[in-house]
Structure formats: C-alpha cells, structure tokens
C-alpha cells in the first residue's frame, strides 16, 4: 500500500510499504477514504517531538471502511463506515472506565520512555512517535486499528467525509477546550490561535453559552474565517498590543477564560518570542510558550486557562506569580475523543454544525510532501489539508 513516511525533520515521502495485518484479536483494518494533516503533525514535521524513527507512517486523523476484523471484534463488522479517534483507548482500565480515554493505561505497547519523561504514560496514538506507542498512522491506504471495540465510531452513509473526518481529533479537541472553560452565561472567552482547533473552540464556546469570543492570530485568512464563519471578534497580534486590546474590550476585567490553541511553537512578535526561538534551536528549552504567557497575563482573576495546544517538554519563564496571584485554574491534555464523538456526530447530522468549512485544500495522498510544506509555511491560504486515496 501507499503510506506517508517520516524521513527526518522537514522531510516526508509517499512510499510503498507492506499492507497491515491483524496482529491482535481486537484489531480491525480500515481502508482509508479520507485523512488529514493536523497542526500537531507539524510538530513531528519540524522535529519538535522526540522518538521518531525514519520510515514511521504519519497521520492520526482518518476515516474509512472496515475491511478485516480480529476474532474478538464485536462492535464492528466488515463494510462499516467509521471515524477513528486519534488516541487509542483499551476501554477497560481505570481511566477508560471514567471515559478519560486519552489517559489509557494499556494502549502504549512500550511506555517506558513516556513513564520516565512524564511520570506516567498516556494513551498510545496513531502516527505520533514511539514515545506514544509507535502505532503506524492513517496517512496511508490502510491502517490497523487496535482495540477496535472501543474507538471507531460507526457513521451513516450519505454524509460526505468532509463533514465527518474532523470527529477524529480537531472538532472534539476544540469542543473539549471550550468545555474545560466551564463557561457561564455572559462569559467572554479569548482564543489564541485561529487554526482548526482554535476555530472549533470558538464555535464550541458559543454553543456552550459564551456571550463573546475574541480570537487572536496574525494570518489574515485565519482571522477572516474566525470573524466571518465563527463570529468571533478578532485581533491581529502583529497590528496591536493584545493585552491592551483585551483589557479595553473587557472593561478592564479580562476574559473569563483563555484558550491556548497554539501550543509549543508559538511565533509572537516581541523580544521574548525571538529569544524563545533561539533557546529552542540550541536546546535550552523545548517549547515556546509565547501565547500561553499572554493568556495568563490577560485572564481575569479566578478564570480558567484551557490548553488544547500541544506541549511536549519544558517551558521557560512561565508567569507563575501572575497565575497564583489571580488564582487561575489550568485545564489541559489530550482529548478524550471517544467521550465526545457521539454527541458531536448528532450535532453534525442535525445540521447544527458543518465542520467542512475549514477545508482549504482537498488533495491526493500522493501530494503529501507538498501538502506538509504548504501547511507548515501557511502558504496559499492553507488552513486545513485533507487527502484522499483516488
């Protein structure tokens, strides 16, 4: 089959590799109809995530048709159309029992490294380094899905892939980010980053009762989408002082909750952002928390900082004093996709939301190397790339 394989930093290739096989009794094999490149794939592409190996198959946002099932798969049958959650849950451990699937105790086959680095390993993930299990990803013609009784969500025929694919990660991720804000009527939510997760977070914040959402980015087409499609007020951080603007817009009180949908590769414009970039380049720090610092500074007293943006290592100069002085609550982590998928599917099917608005590039799997480059450089107004097997 064809698969998108990581070759090293800034280098991916479409290779011909062996077809996947059923390896365990609860495995299923999916023929992939659509797959996407996630913002977090760019952290792999840029070489920010350790434990990648040459040849690793990328991709954790995918959907398709069930082609083969192991003897213990009861919830799926051949021919089912499914969307697959990016984090793998066993369904039976302490965390899966609490629907905290991305904390699954059992799905990382070699958790030694993650246990050492993070204290405890989270769930295994598709195509996201050997730190998180080394599972072959879904930017391919086929993928093996372990614990198939638990993860894949069966979706009805007749609804196009474009509307359903983002149930695999970014739609639930934006939704959980907003849910983590514990939104009360009248709340103002500020969202850093108008990439796909940020845009879904804006929409979800309104769905959950927010009065106002203020979105921050620097890319004109992303700000335009946040404003026109998602109905946010927008700030271009290259053209204004974000902290001043937020203070004025919220009558001095500050946003009730702040969402960092940027994560560890934040750009920023000030002295500190250039300093962060230099430090990361010479390994004095691993992550660049420019957006997060600003969110902490802006947030109202007693507010919540919700972090769907991915962090991998160590942060420098976090304003812990501000966080403490204002009694902020921090909520973060990988998304429990399986927990939110059914309700979000209903929302899509009832016409409440159409996630396909994000897609700027609908390409072929063969185009993956160019697609990664385009997305990484945010060229050609690229917001979201999906790829199909033709």
């Amino acid at each position: 089959m064809k698969a998108v394989c990581w070759q090293g930093a800034k280098q991916v290739e479409v290779e011909r590799v062996p077809d996947p096989q059923i390896l365990n009794a609860t495995d299923a094999i999916i023929k992939i109809s659509s797959t996407a490149i996630c913002g977090s794939d760019l952290h792999l592409y840029d070489g920010f995530i350790p434990e990648m190996q040459k040849g690793d198959i990328l991709g954790h946002e995918f959907m398709g048709e069930v082609m083969e099932v192991g003897p213990d798969v009861k919830n799926l049958k051949i021919g089912d159309r499914v969307v697959v959650p990016f984090a793998i849950g066993c369904g039976h451990c302490f965390f899966c029992e609490r629907k905290e699937y991305s904390f699954c105790d059992n799905s990382n086959p070699d958790s030694t490294m993650a246990d050492q680095v993070y204290g405890h390993s989270g769930a295994g993930m598709f195509g996201y380094s050997h730190l998180f299990g080394g599972f072959a990803g879904g930017q391919a013609e086929y993928a093996r899905v372990p614990f198939a009784n638990v993860g894949p969500l069966v979706v009805p025929p007749g609804v196009e892939d474009e509307k359903l694919l983002f149930l695999s990660d970014i739609f639930p991720t934006g939704y959980m980010a907003a849910l983590n804000c514990n939104i009360q009527f009248g709340d103002t939510i500020a969202v850093w980053g108008c990439g796909p997760v940020g845009l879904f977070a804006i929409q979800s914040a309104y769905l959950l009762g927010a009065e106002r959402v203020i979105a921050i980015d620097r890319i004109p087409e992303r700000l335009a989408m946040a404003e026109r499609v998602c109905k946010a007020e927008v700030l271009n951080y290259e053209e204004c002082d974000v902290l001043d603007e937020l203070r004025i817009k919220t009558g001095g009180r500050g946003p009730d909750s702040c969402i960092d949908a940027v994560g560890m590769e934040a750009h920023g414009t000030n002295f500190y952002s250039r300093y962060e970039k230099t430090k990361a380049a010479i390994h004095l720090a691993t992550d660049r928390p420019v957006a997060l610092r600003e969110a902490i500074q802006a947030c109202r007293k007693g507010g919540t900082i919700s972090i769907p943006g991915v962090y991998g290592g160590f942060l420098d100069k976090m304003p812990m004093g501000a966080a403490f002085a204002k009694g902020l609550t921090f909520k973060m982590g990988q998304t429990h996709v399986q927990k939110y998928m059914p309700a979000l599917l209903d929302m899509i099917l009832s016409g409440g939301i159409d996630p396909s608005f994000l897609i700027t590039h609908n390409l072929d799997l063969n185009d993956a190397p160019e697609a990664y480059k385009l997305f990484q450089e945010k060229k050609d107004s690229c917001i979201k790339v999906i790829m199909k097997n033709h």
Binding site: M1, A3, C5, W6, Q7, E13, E15, R16, V17, P18, D19, P20, Q21, L23, N24, A25, T26, I29, K31, Q53, K54, G55, D56, I57, M67, E68, D72, I88, C90, G91, H92, C93, F94, E97, D105, N106, S107, N108, P109, S111, T112, G124, G133, G134, F135, A136, A140, Y142, R144, P146, F147
Partner: protein
C-alpha cells in the same frame, strides 16, 4: 474491621519481606481494575506466568506444590531451568514460592493482592529475589534477570495489567513501516 484488615496486611508484608534476604531484590506494584480473586486465581496457575513474564518460556506443574520453570534468552538459544516449590497460598491475599533446595539457581518470590474500596481496583505488589549462580549458568542468568530486574518486573506487571483488564497485550511489531518491501494482505484486495 478496617484495623484488622490493615494488621493482617502488615503481617503479610512482613512475611513477604522475610522470605527475601539476599541476592538481587526487586519490588514493584501495579493497580489493576479487577478483583483480587480474579488476579489471585490467574497467578495461582503458574503456567500463566509466561504470558506476562519476559524470557519465562514455560511453567509446567509437576504436583500441587512443585513446578518446572524454563527460561529462554538469545532467541531461545540459551536456556535455564529450575524447580519451584509453592510455599504459601492464602486465597485472594498472598502467594509465595521459592526454588527447591537442589536447584542451581536460588530464586524466591511473593505476591500480595490488596483490593481497594470504591472500585479502585486491586494493588498487586511483587517481591522477587534472585541469587545469581556461579559458573557456566551465570552468563545466561545475567541475560534473563540480571541486566535490569527492576525494569523487567515493571514491564511484566504492565503486561499483567493489560491481560487482566483487556485480555490482550498491545503490540506494534509486525505492523508496516517505511523501508520494508511491499507485501499484499489478500483480505484487503
């Protein structure tokens, strides 16, 4: 009630400690979402141990008390074996064993099961002692348990948890990756 249980537990732990007094000692514990009864019964069938203990190739019961343990390393090219004797088996709380006196290798182990309230699972605490042999067996013994017995035990307990909670051990060996020649799975075409 709770005090009695705590006292019983500390007696069990003391007994567990006394068994092990020399050589390489390792201890680790894991919490498993299953009843103490179920895990106890699984462990009591020593022939199940190779399902989660790395390098342990087989355990064959010889009688109610005795069993033959065969370890393999270097892809099965090297082998070491010993006879184990069951010392104690206290239903749903404790199992302990050690090698028979005429064994070339001295090993002892014990496991205690402590079920937590409110559905929090069962804490399984394992203590193992290995007394390294002399002579020709030393090298192979080193490969089986010696390099990092603590790491081995930790990994083995994770596998036990996977078996007890989900009934399978997740794996990625055998999955496709770049750089391998293309192979067709007929079920997909």
């Amino acid at each position: 009630m709770a005090q009695d249980a705590a006292r019983n537990l500390s007696v069990l732990e003391q007994r567990q400690r006394h068994r092990l007094h020399e050589g390489v000692k390792v201890i680790d514990s894991v919490t498993i979402q299953a009843s103490a009864k179920r895990i106890f019964e699984f462990w009591s069938r020593f022939e199940n141990l190779p399902l989660f203990i790395g390098h342990l190739d087989s355990v064959t019961p010889l009688s109610n008390q005795r069993s033959l343990w065969i370890w393999k390393a270097l892809n099965g090219h090297k082998q070491i074996e010993w006879e184990s004797v069951l010392i104690e088996s206290e239903p749903y709380h404790l199992i302990s064993w050690k090698t028979s006196p005429d064994s070339e290798v001295h090993h002892a182990g014990s496991v205690i099961f402590r079920e937590l309230p409110y559905g929090r699972g069962t804490v399984v605490t394992v203590r193992m002692l290995y007394d390294p042999p002399l002579g020709g067996l030393a090298d192979i013994f080193e490969r089986i348990v010696g390099e990092s017995p603590q790491y081995n035990l930790m990994n083995d307990l994770k596998k036990l948890r996977q078996l007890m909670e989900v009934g399978e051990i997740p794996r990625v060996d055998g999955q496709p990756t770049g750089g391998q020649p293309e192979e067709i799975n007929p079920a997909l075409h």
